[in-house]
Amino acid sequence: MLTEDHSESMSDALLFTTICIIGLPVDVHVRDGSVYSGIFHAASVDADYGVVLKKARMTKKGMFDTNVGTEVVVDTLVILANDLVQIVTKGVMLDGGNVSRYDEEAVTCEVENHIGSLVDAKQDNQSRSPIQMENGFAHGFPRSIAVNEHEGKKLPVNHMRTSLELDCGKTNKKDFTKIEVDSASSFNDRQPGHDKSKGKADDCRQKPAVVKGKIDEKIQRLNSSHGIDTDLIQVEAVEHVSTYMISNTSDNGLSCDNDAASVKLDDRCSERSTLTDSASTNSIQGVDLISESHNLQPKSVEISTPRGTGSTRNAKEFKLNPAAKIFSPSFLHPSSITAAVPTSPNMVYVPNSSPSVSFTAIQPQVEFSTFVSRPPLPVKIADYSNVGVGNGGSGSQLSQPIIGQLAHRTQPLRYTAHYTPDLSEPAYLQTSSPAVMVGRSGQLVYVHPVSHELVHGATTISPVSARPMSNHVQFPKQQGKKSMK
């Protein structure tokens, strides 16, 4: 089995050499004579040998103009087989230790088994285990795995092992690229959520397009004449930086929405939190977020329907407009900010509010519009201004949408423009309270009080009552903000 795989793609020795130089600084000479230096990251070994470099820089200018500037450090550079002339690596240890030939084979075999094709991963569900492996492998990020396998439950202790085994269980994959990908960089943190969301949202048709679009924008390819090598590019896309991942995920999430399946929504919720979490790179928070998202699931279910329509639109925007990536940075900021804020003042805040914050952060626009358009909402809010009473009367469901809304409230920090529609809801205006004033000086300042109050709500009260509480508290402030405007 192994033998066949190899003979189709590449020889053992080349494979071995390739793996040996992963993570080493290499100089890649390309057809036009230019030289790119970077960290060897991955190679495509299906017939054509293309490579992916990380943190690549052009160190020698060639004859042709390329889209890679001499000064710029390209985060991920794909060099297609047609461009490749030679790869030079210095100071490699080709020999390992005293392992027998059999072992070597075993290793190779193992590697292959472990690694699922990323490309495949993108296109279908079977990708999950390889992805998990990435997580476990690359960083042992508990949260991603937790999300993968338990959907927001607490993390498994030996995630790494688990993922490995999972991968082993998989059928043999030939694609060597996977290996490198798995071995990948810190950026892989983001992959889990991303890929997973894909896996879950089987029906996300937009993804390929999205991915492609991204590739165009982000990946700097050599300017040569050939068509896109899909494999390579997809691999690349997967490995993209945080920004990408986040925007990407939001895309995925959005497309998931089309499905309108509440279950998926839940998944997404947890995914989102993971993502946000990875954005903030705070593992502790990650855990919290995940569990939190679990708690919130009912809410998200409620929300799902309205979100669907808007989300489609949003996804389209991404697809149609490559420049939509502008969104991603801005998305990134709110998410990381919101996530980060709780960390400093009080961790308690995280469980209660961050999940909603996080997912809204990812797709604020859509939700805003949908919410505003919802007639029932204002009513509920009015109830809320009456604190607990309103909550009881309106029922548990009501509180949930509101939470969603709350999350949006926090969002305005960034999307002030979107915020305005909210003003149309009379309830808010009435709610304004002294607390409002506190936050006025600055947005960040304003966040702090919120989190404090949230803490109270979270700690003292049962989930149901806690939500209205926090909502109530938060409203005044938001209100304040609005009135400021």
Binding site: I22, G33, G38, V88
Partner: protein, 169 residues
Amino acid sequence: MAMMDGGNNNLEELAVGCMLSIRTTLGDEFEGQVVTFDRPSNILVLQEGFKHGPRRNIRLLKTNYIKDFTFLGQADDPLDPNNCFLDLTALQTREELAIRQAEADAERIGVGVTTEAQSIFDALSKTLPVRWDKTVIVVMNEVRVGSPYNSESVIGGTPAANDRVKKMV
């Protein structure tokens, strides 16, 4: 495995281990020992510096870019099949580290600054924490050194820090 060895070796056994002096169409010239030749991808793997310890330079060269080569001699298969193993975790760690390092290095390079400014930056960075703020060198997060990077252009910070930077500049 066996099948593969048999199949490949017919052609490549001769080549593996050969010492070659190669000139490429791009003008590179080097000597190396053939580690392997991969027919599907048309890549020749060479190693250099095999005389000096275990660390070598590895070249993966597309054979169609070889202009000409000279046969220098024959040696053993450089890949000892009994000695090949890979530690994926270690590889991952290595790459991660390398990328982090690269990021750190990238931050140290001022964008749009003169080489002189960069050398000043490098010199300062040996003793003090410095970073770039566009083209301004920020030392210890308080003292700013802008163009033309002489002692007059040292601005801000506590007097002591300012003096210190001035001296260094």
